[in-house]
């Protein structure tokens, strides 16, 4: 049986808001959810997106996922992380944009 951990973004949303935006907010949720630690301790991480969410912007995702994407690199990241996304809003494009940004900056820093 694989070890699965869950992060429910409902627990970290600003009351009354249907968006997750901003780098500062991304850092706050990364620390509060302990996503880096959960990733290290589990085989799979499921991130639940509340159904009424309207947008999770790349500015937020870039900081929220920065460490795990850099650690795992895209292929392993997309294998290990699953986004439970049943509302109208679909995270796919914003997630792809955030991952590209993280990797682009990491590559620039290395070189």
């Amino acid at each position: 049986m694989s070890n699965i951990k869950t992060i429910n973004l409902q627990d970290y949303r600003t009351p009354g808001s249907r968006v997750f935006t901003g780098r500062d907010r991304g850092i706050n949720v990364r620390n509060a959810s302990k996503i880096d630690q959960l990733e290290a301790e589990s085989d799979k991480v499921i991130i639940k997106i509340p159904e009424d969410i309207g947008s999770i912007n790349p500015s937020f995702l870039e900081e929220f996922l920065n460490n795990v994407v850099n650690k795992l690199q895209p292929e392993a990241f997309f294998t290990k992380f699953e986004f439970e996304n049943n509302g109208r809003y679909k995270i796919v494009n914003d997630l792809q944009e955030a991952v590209e940004r993280i990797l682009r900056e990491e590559t620039a820093l290395v070189h």
């Binding site: 249907r18 968006v19 935006t21 500015s59 494009n93």
Partner: protein, 201 residues
């Protein structure tokens, strides 16, 4: 007065005065020589110091001139390779964002309409990142971060306004206050940051 003394006294006094005169001459000559030597050494050291200072200044000026030349070359490349080819992308990005006004046609937007509108602005931001912003990362990371932050702040603000605020964005003054003016500020800020870039790393 000397004539009043005996011959021997006269001779002794004469000899003493001659000696004193000779000693005085020697002292004066030695002092003059010492002073001349001091002036010579002082001047030599001063010349050496002045020469070293002058050489240092010339070296500093040369380094400064080289830096300035490199900076000018970088600025020229920045203008020709980064800014001029991407000016249409920058203009297109802001012009596309301004089309939001015509895309918002109903007082109350449905959830799907809100999502579609925000997806549209995020897609435009992504296009500009790929064509222009990412290039800045290799040119000047500080400028890259400043411009990225500017665009993120704009897109986050538009997203929050459309999704959260429930405002009547068909009302022109409201649209202008909440979205139109912010697009204009962002554009001005971006132009200002690019204009003020001096070619430094």
């Amino acid at each position: 007065m000397i004539l009043l003394f005996s011959d021997s006294t006269y001779i002794t006094n004469d000899t003493t005065l001659t000696d004193v005169s000779s000693i005085a001459n020697i002292v004066i000559a030695a002092t003059s020589f010492g002073l001349a030597y001091y002036v010579f050494v002082y001047q030599k050291n001063k010349d050496r110091r002045d020469k070293a200072t002058q050489q240092q200044k010339e070296q500093d000026d040369k380094i400064e001139a080289t830096k300035l030349q490199e900076q000018n070359i970088r600025l020229q490349w920045f203008k020709e390779l980064v800014i001029q080819p991407h000016l249409p992308d920058i203009n297109n990005f802001y012009n596309q964002l301004h089309t939001l006004e015509s895309q918002i046609t109903t007082v109350t937007l449905l959830d799907q309409q809100k999502i579609d509108l925000t997806n549209f602005v995020k897609a435009e931001q992504s296009n500009l990142r790929k064509s222009f912003i990412d290039v800045l990362l290799g040119v000047n990371p500080t400028l890259y971060n400043e411009i990225k932050n500017n665009l993120d702040a704009l897109i986050d603000s538009i997203t929050t306004t459309i999704i959260d605020d429930g405002l009547n964005l068909t009302h022109k003054p409201t649209y202008e206050r909440e979205i139109g003016s912010k697009i204009a500020y962002s554009r001005n800020d971006l132009i200002s940051k690019v204009y003020n870039y001096k070619g430094t790393i």
